[in-house]
C-alpha cells in the first residue's frame, strides 16, 4: 500500500468568497473539564467569517467538545465546567446574561448521526422556522423548498414532503438535517462529522454542498477524514489530547506543517 503523503491530498482550490475571513469567532484560553478530567486545554483560535474551518485530530482529542462550546450544547451535561472566553461578533457567549436559546437560533448545527425528527419531511424543516415565529403558510412553503434545494434534496423528496422523514435513506436524512439547519438562516453552521456515517456518494454530495453553503455561512466542521478537511476547508485546526497543536491555512497544514505531530498525523503515521 502506498504511503500517504501530503502531496497526494487534493486541496481546496475554490476562491474564498469576497470579503470573507473577517474574524467572527474568537476563543481565548478555553479550558473545559468533565468532572475531574480536562477535555480542552487552553484553546485560543480565531475563526473567519464565511470561511470553512476544519477541526481534525484523533478520536477523543476534544474537537467535537470544542465545537459544541460555540452553541453551548455542552451546557446539557451536568458536570461540565468551562473557563476562558469565547466571543462571537465581539460578544462573550458565556456571559451570564446570554440567552442560550437566542444564541442557538443564530447558530445551526448538524450532528454526526443524522437525527431527523419522527415527523414529516416538511414538518422537520418548519419546526425550526416556527420556533423563530414564522407562521404564514406561503412563507413556510417557500423556505422549505429553498432550504431543500440548498441541501440538494429537493428533487428527491418534492413529491413526498408530507411522508415521514424516517423513510429516507441515511444520506438523504443527513441532507435533510442540513436543510433543517440552514432553513433558519443561521450565521454560523457547526457540523460534527456530518459525513462519517455516509457512503462515498452521499459524502461527495455533502462536500459539494458545504462549498456551496460557504458563500453565505461561516462553517466549522469536525472531521475524521483528512482528505475531506483538505478538500473543503480554508483553515484547519489540529487537536491532540485536548490541546490545539496547530492552526493555520489548510494548504499550510497539509503541505508544510510547522509541528512534527501535525505532520505525523496528516501523513497517517498515527491517529
Amino acid at each position: 500500500m502506498a504511503a500517504f503523503s501530503p502531496t497526494q491530498v487534493t486541496l481546496n482550490t475554490a476562491k474564498p468568497t469576497e470579503g470573507a475571513g473577517a474574524p467572527l469567532i474568537a476563543s481565548e484560553g478555553v479550558n473545559l473539564h468533565y468532572g475531574a478530567t480536562q477535555a480542552l486545554k487552553n484553546i485560543s483560535l480565531t475563526i473567519g467569517e464565511r470561511h470553512v474551518t476544519a477541526f481534525i485530530g484523533p478520536s477523543g482529542c476534544g474537537k467535537s467538545t470544542f465545537l459544541r462550546c460555540f452553541n453551548r450544547m455542552n451546557d446539557l451535561i451536568d458536570s461540565v465546567r468551562i473557563t476562558g472566553s469565547i466571543k462571537i461578533g465581539g460578544q462573550d457567549i458565556y456571559s451570564p446574561d446570554v440567552d442560550v436559546i437566542e444564541l442557538r437560533k443564530r447558530i445551526g448545527m448538524v450532528f454526526q448521526r443524522s437525527n431527523p425528527f419522527p415527523k414529516s419531511i416538511y414538518d422537520n424543516i418548519t419546526y425550526g422556522l416556527k420556533l423563530h415565529g414564522m407562521t404564514a403558510k406561503s412563507e413556510l412553503d417557500a423556505t422549505v423548498e429553498q432550504s431543500l434545494r440548498g441541501a440538494a434534496l429537493w428533487d428527491e423528496v418534492k413529491d413526498r414532503l408530507h411522508t415521514s422523514a424516517l423513510g429516507l435513506s441515511g444520506g438523504q436524512q443527513q441532507r435533510l438535517c442540513i436543510a433543517r439547519a440552514i432553513a433558519i438562516k443561521p450565521e454560523i453552521l457547526l457540523m460534527d462529522e456530518p459525513a462519517s456515517a455516509l457512503d462515498p456518494i452521499a459524502t461527495a454530495k455533502i462536500e459539494e454542498l458545504i462549498l456551496e453553503l460557504k458563500r453565505e455561512f461561516t462553517i466549522v466542521i469536525v472531521t475524521h477524514n483528512m482528505q475531506q478537511a483538505a478538500r473543503i476547508s480554508d483553515q484547519t485546526a489540529f487537536f491532540y489530547l485536548g490541546e490545539l497543536i496547530e492552526f493555520d491555512t489548510t494548504a499550510k497544514i497539509f503541505t508544510n506543517p510547522s509541528k512534527k505531530q501535525t505532520e505525523d498525523y496528516v501523513t497517517g503515521r498515527f491517529g
Binding site: N71, M73, L76, D78, I101, E102, R104, K105, R106, I107, G108, M109, F111, R113, N115, P116, F117, P118, K119, Y127, G128, L131, H132, T163, S164, A165, L166, G167, C177, R180, A181, I184
Partner: protein, 394 residues
C-alpha cells in the same frame, strides 16, 4: 490440524455441524422451559375466562328463573310428568335428579307447592328478572317508587339485577381516576425524564413509583378516612363517600402505573431528537413538549390504556371509598358502586349456583371482556402510531 486447539472437541470433517440442539442441551432445555412458562400464562388467562364465563352461561342462555312465584304442579300429579319434565320443573341437574329417589322428589314437589301458596301475589312476583330486558331496561317495580327505574337490588322479595347502576358506577370512578391521574402522571413523567437534573431524577422516580407499593386496602382506608373528609370540606357536597372521592383515591393507585410506563417511553426517545431541537433554538420545554412527547406517543398511549385497566379493575379502593350504593345517577357526588366492588361484596353471600351467584359471574365476565377489548384496541392504535412515526403506515 495445526490450527485446532489441542483439547478442542471437534469432529473430523464437517459432519459435526449436524449436531443441532444436541450441541447445547442445557440452553435448549432452558429455552423450551421458558416457552412453556409463557404458554402457561396464556393458558391461565384463557382458563380464568372459561371458568367465569361457564358460571355465567346459564344466565346468558336464559335457563335461570328468578321469579319469586312460579306456577306449581300438585305433588299428587307427579306420575303424570315425564322424568325430563320433572327434572326441569324442579330445577335439578341430571346428576342430582338421578341421585334422588321417588320420595325425595315427592317432598321437593310439596315444597314447591308450599312456596307457590306463600308467594307474593303482586304483578312482579312472576317476573324472571334475569331476562335481558330487565338487566338493561328500566322497569316499574311494584315494591318501589311508581316509575320506570334501573335498579340493582339482588336481596329482597324481588331480585332486581339491572346492570346500569353498576356500569355507570364503574365508569364514573374510572373517569374521575383517569382525569385526575393521567395529567399528573404524564406531567411528572415529562418532568422527570426531560427537565429535571439527574440528581433530582434519582430520587423523584423511585419516590413516585413507591406509590405502587402502597397496598390498595391502605389507599382505600386513606380515601375513606382522610380524603373523604377533606374533599367534603373543600367542595361541600352532601354524601361524604362518593364517586369523586373513590376516583381520586383510585387515581393515586393509577399514577404510578401511568408514570412508570410513560417515563420509560419518554426516556427511550433518542437524546439526539432533543439535541436537534435545542440546537435549532428550542427551549428544553419546547423540545420535551413538541418533539419528545409526540415521538413517545405510542408508549404514552400504552401507559394510559394500562392505567384504565388498573382503574376499572381495582376493587378495594372503590369498595371502601365509594359509599357502595348502587344508585342510578350520573352525578359524581352521589354515592356509587362499581362492578368490582359489587362482586367482592356480594359473592360471599350469594347462594352457590343461584341466579345471584351467576349474575355476579356475568358482570365479572363483562368486565373481563371490556378490559380485553380495551387492551386490544389500545394495542392496535399503538401499532398504528408506531408505524406512522417510523414512516411505514399511511
Amino acid at each position: 490440524m495445526t490450527n485446532t486447539p489441542a483439547n478442542a472437541k471437534r469432529t473430523v470433517g464437517w459432519m459435526g455441524i449436524h449436531r443441532g440442539h444436541k450441541a447445547r442441551p442445557v440452553e435448549w432445555l432452558a429455552e423450551k422451559f421458558i416457552f412453556l412458562v409463557s404458554l402457561t400464562a396464556i393458558l391461565m388467562v384463557f382458563l380464568i375466562f372459561v371458568f367465569v364465563a361457564r358460571e355465567a352461561l346459564p344466565l346468558v342462555l336464559g335457563q335461570m328463573n328468578s321469579a319469586a312465584a312460579r306456577p306449581a304442579i300438585p305433588a299428587k300429579d307427579m306420575d303424570k310428568l315425564k322424568p325430563a319434565e320433572l327434572q326441569e320443573y324442579l330445577g335439578l341437574t341430571p346428576a342430582e335428579f338421578k341421585g334422588l329417589d321417588k320420595e325425595a322428589l315427592q317432598a321437593l314437589m310439596e315444597v314447591r307447592e308450599e312456596e307457590a301458596k306463600e308467594a307474593p301475589k303482586d304483578k312482579d312476583a312472576k317476573v324472571n328478572t334475569t331476562e335481558w330486558k330487565y338487566l338493561f331496561g328500566a322497569h316499574e317495580w311494584s315494591d318501589s317508587r311508581p316509575e320506570d327505574r334501573h335498579v340493582w337490588q339482588p336481596i329482597g322479595r324481588i331480585h332486581k339485577y339491572n346492570l346500569w347502576p353498576l356500569i355507570i358506577g364503574s365508569l364514573k370512578t374510572t373517569l374521575v381516576a383517569l382525569l385526575f391521574s393521567v395529567p399528573l402522571a404524564l406531567a411528572a413523567a415529562i418532568y422527570v425524564s426531560q427537565l429535571s437534573s439527574p440528581s433530582l431524577k434519582e430520587w423523584l422516580k423511585p419516590a413516585i413509583e413507591m406509590l405502587s407499593g402502597v397496598p390498595s386496602v391502605v389507599l382505600g382506608f386513606f380515601g375513606l378516612i382522610v380524603m373523604a373528609t377533606f374533599l367534603q370540606s373543600v367542595f361541600g357536597y352532601q354524601s361524604r363517600l362518593n364517586a369523586f372521592v373513590a376516583g381520586i383515591a383510585l387515581g393515586l393507585a393509577v399514577i404510578p402505573v401511568v408514570f412508570s410506563i410513560a417515563e420509560d417511553a419518554l426516556t427511550s426517545v433518542p437524546r439526539s431528537y432533543t439535541q436537534a431541537a435545542l440546537a435549532l433554538g428550542a427551549s428544553k420545554w419546547q423540545a420535551a413538549w413538541q418533539i419528545v412527547l409526540p415521538a413517545a406517543a405510542p408508549g404514552v398511549f400504552a401507559a394510559v390504556v394500562l392505567g384504565f385497566g388498573r382503574a376499572i379493575g381495582e376493587t378495594m379502593v372503590v369498595l371502601m371509598a365509594s359509599g357502595n350504593a348502587s344508585i342510578m345517577s350520573w352525578s359524581l357526588f352521589d354515592s356509587t358502586r362499581s362492578i368490582t366492588a359489587t362482586i367482592a361484596a356480594e359473592l360471599a353471600e350469594a347462594v352457590f349456583g343461584g341466579h345471584h351467584y351467576r349474575m355476579l359471574f356475568l358482570i365479572g365476565a363483562m368486565l373481563f371482556i371490556v378490559t380485553f377489548l380495551t387492551n386490544l384496541a389500545g394495542d392496535l392504535i399503538m401499532h398504528r402510531l408506531k408505524g406512522r412515526l417510523e414512516g411505514k403506515a399511511k
